[in-house]
C-alpha cells in the first residue's frame, strides 16, 4: 500500500512540473541573505505591533534627573537630553517608519500602476501624455520634491507620506507600462477581447495579475527608500514633530549632544540601517528568484 502511494507521488511529480510559485519559494528560502532580511522585517513588524509591551517606558515620559545617561541595564540605549528612555523611543519609532513606509509606498503603487496600465494598454495620445509626465517625475530627486511639498503643506508626517507617494509613483508607472506593452499583444488578451470583455475587465482581471511580479519586487525595494526619506525629512524637522519618536527626529535631537551622548545618534541610526538592509536583502533575493535567466 505504502509502495503504491510513493509511486503515485513520484508520478505526480513527473506529470506535474513544479509550479512557478513553489519554484520561486524554494529558490528564495535557499538564499541565506533573503532569510536574514526576512527575519529583520518580521522582527520589525512584531516590534511595531507589540511596542507597548516591549518598551519598558513610554516614549514621552520625561524624567529630568536621569537625562543623558549612557546605555545600561535599565536603559539599554541610554537616555536623551530630557531623560527619556531611548530604547522605548526607538521601539515606538518602528511604528512610524513602517506606517509612513507602507502608506506612502501603497499610495504610489496604486497611482503608478493605474497610470502605467492605462498608458501601456491604450497607447497613442494617452500613452504620450502619461509618459511625458512620468519621465519628468522620474528623473527628480525624491528628497528635493518632498521638501517642496512639505514646505507648502507645512511640516508633518502626513505631508511626508503624500510627498513620497507623489514622487515615487513614476517608477511603478514606467515598470507597469512596459509590462502592459508586451502583455497586451498576447493571445489570452486577444481571446478576452474577442469574448467581448470591457477594457477595465481586461486590464484589471487579465493583464494586471500577470504584470505583478516585478511590481512586488519594486515594492520591497521602494519601502526602504521611503523609510530613509522619512528619517531624513524628520531629521531636518520637516517630518514628525515632537514628541513623536521618529528615528530621524531622535537623531536630530541627539545632534547637539553628540560628544556627551553619542548613543542618542548611534542607536536610532543603526536601527534605520538594519531595517533598510533587511528590506534590500529580501528585495534583491526576490528579484533574483523571479528572474528566469538566473535559474540554475
Amino acid at each position: 500500500m505504502q509502495v503504491v502511494a510513493e509511486k503515485d507521488i513520484q508520478l505526480a511529480e513527473l506529470a506535474e512540473p513544479r509550479s512557478g510559485l513553489a519554484d520561486i519559494r524554494r529558490r528564495l528560502f535557499k538564499n541565506k541573505a533573503a532569510l536574514f532580511g526576512l527575519s529583520i522585517i518580521i522582527l520589525l513588524v512584531l516590534c511595531a505591533i507589540f511596542a507597548n509591551q516591549i518598551a519598558p517606558y513610554t516614549y514621552d515620559e520625561l524624567v529630568l534627573p536621569r537625562m543623558l545617561r549612557p546605555p545600561s541595564a535599565d536603559h539599554l540605549m541610554g537616555t536623551d537630553d530630557l531623560g527619556r528612555d531611548i530604547f522605548s523611543r526607538v521601539v515606538h519609532g518602528s511604528r512610524i517608519s513602517l506606517e509612513v513606509g507602507f502608506i506612502a509606498v501603497g499610495l504610489s503603487l496604486v497611482l503608478g500602476t493605474i497610470l502605467g496600465a492605462l498608458a501601456g494598454y491604450f497607447g497613442g495620445v494617452v500613452d504620450y501624455l502619461i509618459s511625458a509626465v512620468t519621465d519628468i517625475a522620474w528623473g527628480f530627486p525624491v528628497t528635493l520634491l518632498a521638501i517642496v511639498f512639505v514646505a507648502t503643506m507645512g511640516p508633518s508626517l502626513m505631508s511626508v507620506m503624500v510627498a513620497v507617494a507623489l514622487v515615487s509613483w513614476a517608477g511603478y508607472a514606467r515598470l507597469v507600462r512596459g509590462q502592459f506593452l508586451s502583455l497586451r499583444e498576447k493571445e489570452f488578451v486577444e481571446a478576452a477581447r474577442v469574448l467581448g470583455m470591457g477594457h477595465l475587465r481586461i486590464i484589471f482581471r487579465h493583464i494586471l495579475p500577470n504584470a505583478l511580479a516585478p511590481v512586488i519586487v519594486m515594492t520591497t525595494l521602494e519601502l526602504p527608500k521611503a523609510i530613509i526619506v522619512e528619517a531624513s525629512l524628520s531629521f531636518l524637522g520637516l517630518g514628525a514633530q515632537p514628541p513623536t519618536p521618529s528615528w530621524g527626529s531622535i537623531i536630530s535631537s541627539g545632534r547637539g549632544y553628540i560628544l556627551e551622548a553619542p548613543w542618542m545618534v548611534m542607536f536610532p541610526g543603526l536601527m534605520i540601517m538594519l531595517v533598510v538592509l533587511g528590506f534590500n536583502l529580501f528585495g534583491d533575493a526576490l528579484r533574483d528568484a523571479l528572474d528566469p535567466r538566473l535559474k540554475e
Partner: protein, 306 residues
Amino acid sequence: MFKYILKKLIMMIPILIGATIIVFLMLHLAPGDPVHLIVGPNITPEVYDQIYRSLGLDQPAVVQYFKFLRNVLQGNLGNSILQRRPVMEIIWQRLPVTLELSLAALLISFAIAIPAGVLAAVKRNTITDYTCMTGALIGMSMPTFWFGLLLLYFFAYKGGYFPVSGYGTWKHLVLPAFAMGLTDAAVTARMARSSMLEVIRQDYIRTARSKGLAEKVVIYQHALKNALIPIITLLGLRIGWIMGGSVILEKVFARPGLGSLMVDAIFARDYPIVQGSLLVLTTFIILGNILADILYAVVDPRIKYH
C-alpha cells in the same frame, strides 16, 4: 550631433515651465494669506491693501503667473523677506558651496564605484565580489545624513583631523564629500556590476575568448568599453541626486550652501528664497539629465542623433 543637443535643450523648456508653475503655486497653495506670509500679521488694512495690489494679487492667477514667469526669465527672483536683498544675489553667493560639494562627491563616488563594480563582475561569486557587494549593500542602507554624523563624530570631534563645521578650505570639504560620495558609490557600484555582467554574457565576448585572446584583453578592451556606456549616462542622473542629497548634508555640516539656505527659509517662511533656490536646483538637475542623454549619444554610436 548639434541638432541632437539642440533638440534636447528645447525639450527642457516644457519641464522648466512645469517647474515654474509648481513653484508659483507653492505660495498660493501654502496655508495662510500670502500678504501675511510675506510681511507678517501685524499690519494696518491700508498697508495690507497696498501690498496686496503691489504683489498683483488682485489680478487673475494666470496674469500673476505670466508676470512671475517674465520676472524669472529676466533673472529677477524677487527680494528675500528677511534679508531684504535680491534673491538672485543671495543664491549666487551660495551656489558655489553646493556645486563644490556635489562635484567632489560625484568624483569620489565614480572613482570608487566603477572599479569596484567591474571587479565584482569579473570575479563573480568570489570573495572579492562578496566583499564589494556587501560593502555596497551596507552603504546603500545607511541614511546619508547619519553617515555624515558618524564621520563627524569619529574624524572631527574625536579624531580632530577635520573641522567640525563650516566652509572655506579643502579640509572642510573632505567629510561631507565622503559622506555623500561613499553612500552614492554604493548605488553606482551595483549598477556598474550588473552592467558589466550583462556584457560578459554576450556572444561577442564568448567569441573573443574562443579566439584565444587573453582574459585581460577580453575584459578591458572588449567588455569594459560597452559596459561603461550605461554607467556614463548615470553620471548625469547622479548629479541631480547628489544635489538633492546635499540639501540635507549641508545642514549636518553647517555648510552655507543652497540647501541650508532653502531649509532655513522654509522655517522662516521666506518664500521668495524657497522659490528661487528650488528653481535653480531644478535647472541644474534637468541639465544633469540632459547631459546624461547627450553623453549616451556620444559614447554609443548606435544611438541616432535625430
